[in-house]
């Protein structure tokens, strides 16, 4: 029995199941509606697979007009809509309820326009993150946000969660690389926000929609900023016997005026597990940093030398500067396989609270203490440059009560992140996972301000309800929505 509760489905909606499916079938061309349980079950969960529930139906529209028809139908019938990109959310953002339909973006898979002189690409949002770079790399461009699920995850989900990745220290997250969207609203109305120019002359609705976890509308098309590829990039690997020294090294590098494109951190547990899994040849140390810089060969050498000098002042236990593509690949090999390596060993829960960089050492120490208190193992692998932690809590899904213990441990870590001045989630989103912890970071007035913005876009609370906001706080609004039909 897990600890996160979803509201009881609305029986009145379940009773009208056939009517709802028929209405959706009427609104769409053939083969766009899935309603047989044998098929809807494929949509019962996302990356937070401990929570499952098949939806009432699944719709897979091909274009903005079809999304509009779906939304209008659901609005008229009072049916909740749960948007789903590739279903890689780690926070339950795409978890259905039995009385909801899943609106999947899988068939919104076209690259619509590539404009190199103006440095943007226009896509339907079901395309994968990696395909965006794929579409422009022949012309030496790339799309900067690079979440580790980039092979699978959809731009729709990236926008919903304002996804980041390893390279945000230099390039920012999705919101900094999104120029415009086509948004279908809860009642089916289509609006465009932003476009092929920069900024806006009114309220920044684009900034509001990015990271809104499907609460405000369905983004069907996006204009994304693309960037020229750097001439080259190479990492340096630095090992320390003390986690605190590694934290100090991160601070010293940032203060020095160098802006690395990535600073990754791995602790002993992760180093060992990934090294065994990948054969990356990592040194036997307590903490490992991978720092990557970009530019021409000479620029890279110069920056890596500066970083080496900074690290050497702190007596590193290991220091390995890459001089070639092969050496770079070896350095990254372990880090890139970290999640897979841990997954081979154990079930794990991955959190993503962010803390101020200055508090990294303190937080790592405190996580170690919490690990003892909860008697559960934890590994830390994260984006150190921006303080975005990724503690991996190891548990056994087949052991009764273990998931709940892991969730309790996770909640303690997230409370800690907020206490030291950070936040609950840096890139995975709130979803259902951190929904009921929102009160740790935000007051009721803070959350009321957010919910009142949702009211403007989704007055009947049909869009991804029971997510993001604590259930008790959103109850009145969601119940009002039920009474509405």
């Amino acid at each position: 029995m897990s600890t996160i509760v979803m509201p009881e489905p609305d029986l009145a909606i379940l009773d009208r199941r056939d009517e709802i499916v028929a209405a959706l079938e009427r609104a769409l061309p053939e083969n766009n509606v899935i309603s047989e349980l044998a098929e809807t079950i494929a949509y019962e969960c996302d990356g937070l697979s401990a929570y499952r529930c098949p939806p009432l139906a699944v719709v897979l529209p091909n274009n903005t007009q079809e999304v509009s028809a779906i939304m209008r139908t659901c609005y008229e019938l009072g049916v909740p809509v749960v948007p789903r990109g590739a279903g890689t959310s780690l926070a339950g953002g795409a978890l259905p309820t039995a009385d909801s339909i899943i609106l999947g973006t899988a068939r919104l898979n076209q690259h619509l326009d590539i404009d190199i002189p103006n440095r943007f690409i226009r896509v339907q949002t079901g395309v994968t993150n990696l395909s965006v770079t794929g579409a422009v790399e022949g012309q030496d461009f790339f799309y900067a946000p690079d979440p580790s699920s980039q092979l699978a995850c959809a731009i729709a989900g990236n926008i919903a969660m304002n996804s980041g990745g390893a390279h945000c220290l230099k390039y920012g997250v999705t919101t900094n690389n999104l120029m415009g969207v086509t948004l279908v609203q809860a009642d089916g109305e289509i609006i465009t926000i932003g476009g092929e120019h920069l900024d806006t002359d009114g309220y920044d609705l684009l900034g509001l929609i990015c990271g809104s976890e499907g609460q405000l509308g369905i983004v069907t098309e996006a204009v994304l900023r693309i960037l020229p590829k750097p001439e080259g990039a190479r990492p340096i690997l630095i090992g320390f016997d003390e986690p605190e020294t590694a934290g100090q090294c991160v601070a010293d590098i940032i203060k020095s005026g160098i802006l690395p494109v990535a600073i990754e951190y791995m602790d002993r547990l992760i180093i060992q597990v990934t090294d065994e899994f990948s054969g990356a040849g990592y040194p036997d140390v307590e903490a490992l940093l991978i720092v990557e810089v970009e530019g021409s060969e000479a620029e890279i050498d110069q920056q890596l030398e500066k970083i080496s000098a900074i690290a050497n002042k702190l007596n590193p236990a290991a220091l390995r500067q890459s001089h070639s593509e092969e050496e770079s690949a070896m350095i990254w090999k372990g880090r890139k396989s970290a999640f897979g390596a841990v997954g081979q060993l154990n079930d794990y829960m991955c959190l993503d609270g962010t803390v101020p960089v200055s508090k990294l050492s303190d937080v790592l120490k405190a996580i170690g203490e919490l690990s003892k208190k909860h008697d559960m193992k934890v590994g830390n692998v994260f984006h150190a440059g921006d303080g975005n932690m990724h503690p991996l809590i190891l548990y056994d899904a087949n052991k009764s009560g273990d998931l709940e213990r892991a969730e309790a441990f996770g909640a303690d870590i997230l409370r800690l992140c907020v206490e030291v001045g950070g936040c609950l989630t840096g890139e995975h989103g709130v979803g259902i996972e951190k929904r009921d912890l929102m009160g740790v970071q935000y007051s009721d007035a803070d959350l009321e301000a957010q919910m009142s913005v949702k009211d403007c876009f989704d007055p009947n609370w049909l869009l991804n309800p029971a997510k993001v906001f604590p259930l008790a706080l959103s109850a009145a609004r969601r119940n009002r929505a039920v009474q509405h039909d």
Binding site: L205, L208, V250, G257, P356, E427, A449, C456, F457
Partner: protein
């Protein structure tokens, strides 16, 4: 003469707003007062000065984070950051020369207008560096959103919403930023005699190169030649390398000059602050467009409104000065109907501003949402009434 209220704590400010709500009063929010020319003329019963809500509350150079109360002067922030060789990367423009006024710009005013400068093209706008906010909403409550960390997707992003809302959704009391290292060296490659069309192509090529140009402007009429300017920043040898590469990439037989030092700072300051269009009797427009559209738009602005103009952001930002006639303003709006982007009337006489919307007219759906958001956050209409009037916030298209 309206009352001037100057609270020195967030709590006192909250009480003022509650009092306004109870007594049907409204406030014109002001910091340094240097940007009061932006937007429609505010029609409020009181003036709310944030000057006493001042001071940097947190600065951690190693975390690239700065938090300040909204009335803190930009000068204080710049000085503090410079001591650690850091800066706000978005390089906010200073409006004092185009409005011919005095006073010290505040960080709250910069955020309220989402004010950026030439580096916007490379490292983002004010809103991109803006990571946390505290404000008093129209219900008198203290609301916070975001925080002091640069990666944060916890809940709806009201931080972005507050940037560029001109104080109409709440009074900001504290703002947080991601700051960046200042470079060791800056230099600009100046290329003479490109036509607008050639310049836009060259600027696009520079921005599409891996040489990280951080300022890309074209001045069509500098004395007798046009000047295309490409700014690079970084470590000393990096700057030399990038200048060489850009020169090889773009220049065939034009005159070229490398600009550095105090002349360099003055040059980019004048581009950022629009120092060449200070004639207060002229209409001044700011247009954000798709860079490749800049050629046609600028041609039409010259033909139909007899505009003088120049380009920043590789052509994506056009500053246009013209005689203050309503017909000119109407021409600008008419020209923009053929293109994406927006045109803001930054300076005009009160008479002109009454007859044409200062902000770009919004599509009906967007205007409706904006009006609803305003209504929820400030139901009594306390904050800066009339400032956004011309943005069709009534939703009537």
């Amino acid at each position: 003469m309206t009352d001037i209220l100057s609270p020195n704590t967030e709590q006192a400010l909250s009480e003022i707003i509650l009092d306004c709500k109870a007594n049907n009063q409204s406030v014109r929010i002001t910091g340094g007062g240097t940007r009061s020319g932006l937007g429609g003329a505010v029609n409020a019963t009181k003036t709310l000065s944030l000057k006493l809500l001042s001071g940097i509350t947190l600065y951690e150079p190693a975390a690239l984070t700065l938090v300040a109360k909204s009335g803190t002067t930009y000068k204080e922030i710049q000085t503090t950051l410079a001591a650690e060789s850091q800066r706000l990367s978005f390089e906010p423009m200073d409006h004092r020369s185009i409005y011919a006024n005095q006073g010290e710009p505040t960080i709250g005013g910069i955020v309220a207008g989402n004010i950026s400068g030439s580096r916007r093209i490379q490292s983002g706008a004010c809103r991109d560096a803006f990571i946390g906010v505290r404000y008093i909403c129209g219900h008198g409550e203290i609301v916070k959103n975001g925080g002091r960390v640069m990666k944060n997707v916890t809940g709806l992003d009201l931080v972005k919403l507050m940037a560029g809302s001109y104080g109409t959704l709440g009074v900001m009391t504290e703002v947080s930023f991601k700051v960046l290292p200042a470079p060791e060296r800056q230099a600009t490659l100046q290329i003479a005699n490109f036509s607008v069309e050639q310049a836009v192509k060259a600027m696009s090529k520079a921005l599409g190169s891996p040489f990280e140009v951080t300022g890309v402007a074209h001045l069509p009429n500098t004395q007798d030649a046009s000047h295309t300017l490409l700014r690079v920043e970084g470590f000393d040898s990096q700057v030399t390398y990038r200048l060489d590469k850009l020169r090889a990439l773009l220049v065939t037989n034009q005159d070229v000059e490398i600009i550095e030092g105090s002349k360099h700072d003055a040059l980019w300051q004048s581009i950022r602050n629009v120092d060449i269009y200070t004639d207060q009797t002229k209409q001044l427009w700011r247009l954000s467009v798709k860079p490749s559209d800049a050629v046609k738009i600028s041609q039409q602005l010259r033909e139909k409104a007899n505009a003088e103009l120049y380009f920043d952001w590789g052509g994506g930002l056009i500053w246009a000065s013209m005689d203050d006639q309503l017909t000119n303003a109407q021409s600008v709006r008419q020209i923009m109907t053929g293109f994406g982007g927006f045109a803001t009337l930054v300076r005009a006489s009160a008479a002109t501003k009454l007859k044409i919307s200062v902000f770009h007219p919004q599509a009906k759906g967007v205007a409706k949402l904006s009006a609803l958001i305003r209504q929820k956050s400030d139901p009594s209409g306390i904050f800066n009434p009339n400032l956004l009037t011309s943005m069709n916030l009534n939703g009537d298209g």
